[in-house]
């Protein structure tokens, strides 16, 4: 059994930095873009559960093999996937993705990345993130400063957080909203 802290730190250090490469891999090998977030989450859970027993020696090949196997399983279950796609997956050479080097951004590059991620957020959402993240205001203080309810601040914060994290990990950084008619109340709240 892997120690809980070691497992977490392995996931931070070795798996999550591969997300841009993983996302590219999924885009190339799965047609329906709308499944991307679900697929990625399931693949992460799959490698995390496997690593509970023992940490893999080499994370990168392990992650991409798991990703491929997961796509094959999904393709088997979803009968609408064209047969040639399925064949492609089976014969997929996962070594291709080794071409992208893992690279640690400098602090300056990283800051620039955060800034451009921020610029993509809608104004109100951006303000909430800045008040809370840069000025360190609490939810209540941010609400008072902006003259909106705490609920609004929390909603904007949750959206901004998801979009920014997505952008930091190589995604588009766009806010994903549910269907318009769904009200906030239907979602589970912690």
């Amino acid at each position: 059994m892997t120690d809980a802290e070691a497992l977490k730190s392995w996931f931070f250090r070795e798996v999550l930095p591969l997300e841009p490469a993983l996302t590219r891999f999924l885009r190339r090998n799965w047609r329906n873009r709308e499944d991307l977030v679900d697929l990625r989450q399931e693949i992460y859970a799959r490698v995390y559960d496997a690593a509970r027993k023992r940490l893999p020696v080499q994370t990168r090949p392990f992650l991409f093999t798991s990703a491929r196997n997961h796509l094959i399983n999904c393709a088997r279950r979803a009968q609408v996937v064209p047969i040639e796609h399925f064949v492609q997956l089976e014969s997929l050479n996962i070594a291709v993705d080794n071409a992208t080097p893992d690279r640690y951004a400098s602090a300056r590059e990283e800051l620039r990345r955060v800034q451009s991620g921020l610029e993509r957020l809608p104004p109100r959402c951006r303000e909430v993130v800045m008040l809370r993240k840069i000025e360190g205001l609490s939810q209540r203080e941010a609400a008072a400063r902006m003259g909106v309810s705490e609920d609004t601040v929390e909603r904007q914060m949750v959206q901004g957080m998801r979009a920014l994290v997505d952008f930091m990990l190589g995604g588009s950084g766009r806010i994903r909203r549910g269907p318009k008619k769904r009200s906030g109340k239907e979602e589970h709240r912690p």
Partner: protein
């Protein structure tokens, strides 16, 4: 929203609330329970935590210049005798004051590896160590500083009309005119007094817990509700404060502890194998010159250093 996106929204809500000051043990239990329910929850939460910590750079890279514009009115420092200072601060530090002055504060931050002195409008100085975030609110009736993370050295001008109070996690430090450092790492807070006296209290316990009066040479480490008072001799005090000269000074320090210190000042990480972590070392090192330290370990202790991305692993 897809199933995955619902989980993500839920995880983000937990993470946003977790950073709030009113996050309680009950909230934590709810989060733990939610994480235990499914690995999908767990990996989604970890992914957000990882990405969000990278957004932290936004605050950390900012110069220690005021972020907010709300400047308290400037006025010359006033000097008053000791006894009056103690009495006044005892009378004035109440939770009402604390809240009343939370609005007009300034934020100061240093990046990893950076050290900077910040003059306050009352003539006091704060010296911020690496990766530190501090908020300060000074006005006519109170001087309050929140140490959100990191370490700071305070050189405070005594002013009985305006007690100087430092909040660090659950600890409240009331200055009775003095020089001292506060270091905060989440819940663990260490206070070292070099001159004068301070009063230390658990802010969330109210009157229930007896305050500790610390004088020159005292060090208090408070962790998870436990508080330990230790005396420090002059040499040990100088060691504790060597960061103000950009140096780390070790004496019979284990390699594990030394590495943790270096990691506070550098983006690259030192990782010490279990076998090597107990090795004891001594000496002074430039805090940001990790390479020199690693070279010494290789040459002087016959240890092996292997670089892996951002991490340098030290082993036999």
């Amino acid at each position: 929203m897809s199933h995955a996106q619902q989980i993500e929204a839920h995880a983000a809500q937990f993470l946003a609330r977790r950073q709030a000051p009113d996050w309680s043990a009950v909230d934590q239990a709810a989060l733990d329970e939610w994480l235990r329910t499914s690995t999908l929850h767990e990996v989604t939460y970890l992914r957000l935590e990882y990405g969000w910590s990278r957004v932290d750079r936004l605050a950390a890279l900012r110069d220690p210049a005021p972020v907010t514009a709300a400047l308290p009115a400037q006025r010359p420092p006033r000097w008053k005798p000791w006894a009056a200072a103690i009495a006044a601060s005892l009378a004035l530090v109440t939770s009402t004051l604390w809240y009343a002055h939370r609005s007009g504060y300034e934020t100061y931050a240093t990046a990893v590896g950076i050290r900077q002195t910040v003059p306050l409008t009352d003539g006091s100085h704060m010296e911020l160590n690496t990766d530190t975030l501090v908020r300060a609110a000074l006005d006519d009736t109170a001087r309050t500083v929140w140490l959100e993370r990191g370490e700071a050295y305070f050189d405070i001008v005594s002013d009985p009309a305006r007690p100087f109070v430092v909040h660090a996690g659950a600890q409240r430090i009331t200055v009775l005119g003095t020089k001292f450092t506060v270091q905060r790492d989440d819940d663990s807070v260490q206070v070292v007094v070099t001159e004068g006296r301070v009063r230390l209290e658990q802010a969330d316990r109210g009157a229930a817990a007896a305050p500790v009066i610390m004088t020159s040479g005292d060090a208090v480490l408070s962790q998870g509700g436990q508080t330990h008072l230790q005396a420090r001799d002059a040499q040990a005090l100088a060691r504790e404060l060597s960061w103000r000269q950009g140096m780390l000074t070790f004496d019979q320090t284990t390699l594990g502890e030394a590495a943790a210190e270096f990691n506070r000042y550098n983006r690259r990480r030192l990782q010490i194998s279990e076998a090597a972590a107990g090795v004891r070392i001594g000496g002074s090192f430039e805090a940001t010159n990790m390479a020199a330290f690693v070279r010494l370990l290789e040459e002087g202790f016959d240890l092996r250093a292997v670089e892996h991305g951002n991490t340098i692993r030290i082993d036999y």
